[in-house]
C-alpha cells in the first residue's frame, strides 16, 4: 500500500486518486453542527457515495479483484487514513452482511461522550464500499460506539431491511 502513495508540492495521490488531509477537529465540529439539527445523514450519504465511487474506480484500475480482496483493501485504506484501527469481523457474501470493528476511533475520541453513535463518516464509507463490492444497495448502523461508553466501535453493513433502525434514526442517520 505504501508504494501507492504519491506526495509532492501540495498534491497527494492515494492509489491514483487525489486526496487531502483535514484536521480532525474540523470534521468533528462540522458533524456536531449537523447533528444539532438531525442532519448527520448528510455526512453518511456523502461518505457512502464517496466509498462507492472509490471502489468503482479501483475495480476499473485493478480489474479482476475478488470481493474478499477488495474488502481487505478497504480495511487497509481506512487504517492508513487515520480514522482508527479497523478489522473485519464477519463477511457473509451470500447474505450480504459484513461486520467491522473500529478500535480507537479518532472521531469518537475527539467527539467525546455521546448518547448516540458518532462515526457517521465511517458508517457511510463502509456502506458505500460494501454496496459496490457486493453489488447491492447496502446500509450501515453503528451498533457499538466508543463515545457511548463501549470499548470499541462496531458496524453492521447489510440491506436496510435487515437493519433494526428506528424511524428517528432512519430520518436523522439515513435521510430517509
Amino acid at each position: 500500500m505504501s508504494k501507492q502513495v504519491k506526495f509532492s508540492d501540495g498534491r497527494l495521490e492515494l492509489m491514483g486518486i487525489r486526496d487531502s488531509f483535514t484536521p480532525g477537529v474540523t470534521f468533528v465540529e462540522i458533524q456536531k453542527e449537523l447533528m444539532k439539527s438531525g442532519r448527520q445523514h448528510l455526512i453518511y450519504s456523502s461518505a457512502k457515495k464517496s466509498g462507492y465511487n472509490w471502489f468503482k474506480y479501483m475495480s476499473k484500475v485493478y480489474s479482476g479483484m475478488k470481493q474478499t480482496e477488495a474488502v481487505k483493501w478497504g480495511v487497509d485504506l481506512m487504517s492508513l487514513s487515520g480514522w482508527g484501527i479497523p478489522t473485519l469481523e464477519k463477511l457473509d457474501l451470500e447474505k450480504k452482511i459484513t461486520i467491522f470493528n473500529l478500535k480507537n476511533s479518532t472521531v469518537a475520541k475527539l467527539y467525546g461522550k455521546s448518547s448516540t453513535p458518532v462515526d457517521h463518516f465511517f458508517r457511510g464509507l463502509t456502506a458505500g464500499g460494501g454496496s459496490y463490492i457486493l453489488n447491492e444497495d447496502l446500509d450501515c448502523v453503528e451498533t457499538h460506539c466508543l463515545s457511548k461508553g463501549d470499548g470499541f466501535c462496531r458496524f453492521l453493513v447489510a440491506p436496510i431491511n435487515l437493519l433494526e433502525v428506528s424511524s428517528k434514526s432512519l430520518r436523522d442517520d439515513f435521510g430517509r
Partner: protein, 169 residues
Amino acid sequence: MDIATELIISNKLQFEEGEIKLFGTSIFLIPPEVYMFLYSELDKTGQTDIFYKTCQASAFELFTNLIKSSHKDIDELIAFVPKILNLLAYGKVSITKKDLSNMVFEFSLESPLYPEIFGKYQKPIDVAFAGLLAGSLSAVLKTPMRCIEKECVSTGFGNCTFVAEMGVL
C-alpha cells in the same frame, strides 16, 4: 530535505496504526468528494461558513502547537504557513504578497484540489482553505486575521488567490 521528511524525523508528523498527528493535532485523509457533497448540501441553506470557522479553529490550534515547539522568528513562522498547508494537500500554496507593517498578505493556490473535483461553480469554493489560512496567520501573528478567496479556478481563474488581513469574518 523536504518538509514532510523533516517533520517525520523530528516526530512532529506521526503516522501510527489508525492515527496521523501533525504537531499533536489529529488529521484524517478525507476523500475530497465528501467535501464536495457536503459543500453542495450546505450551500443550499447558506451554511458553508461552517467550513471556514471550523478550519480556522483547527489551523489556529495546529499553529499554536507548532509555535510552542519551535524557536522560529515571525518571518520564519510566516514562511512556514505555506509549507505546512502544502502538507495537507489542497494544492501548491505560496505567498505572493507579504506586507507585515499593514498586516496584509496574499497567497496563491496552484492546482487546487476542490476546483479540480467541483469543476465550474458560480462562486469561489475554497472556504475551508481560506479558514485554514486565517487560523494559521492568526496564531502566527497573534492577532485575529480574516481571509477571503478573491479568485477561484472554479469561477474561471488560472489559480486560486486569497487575501488575508486583520479582522474577523
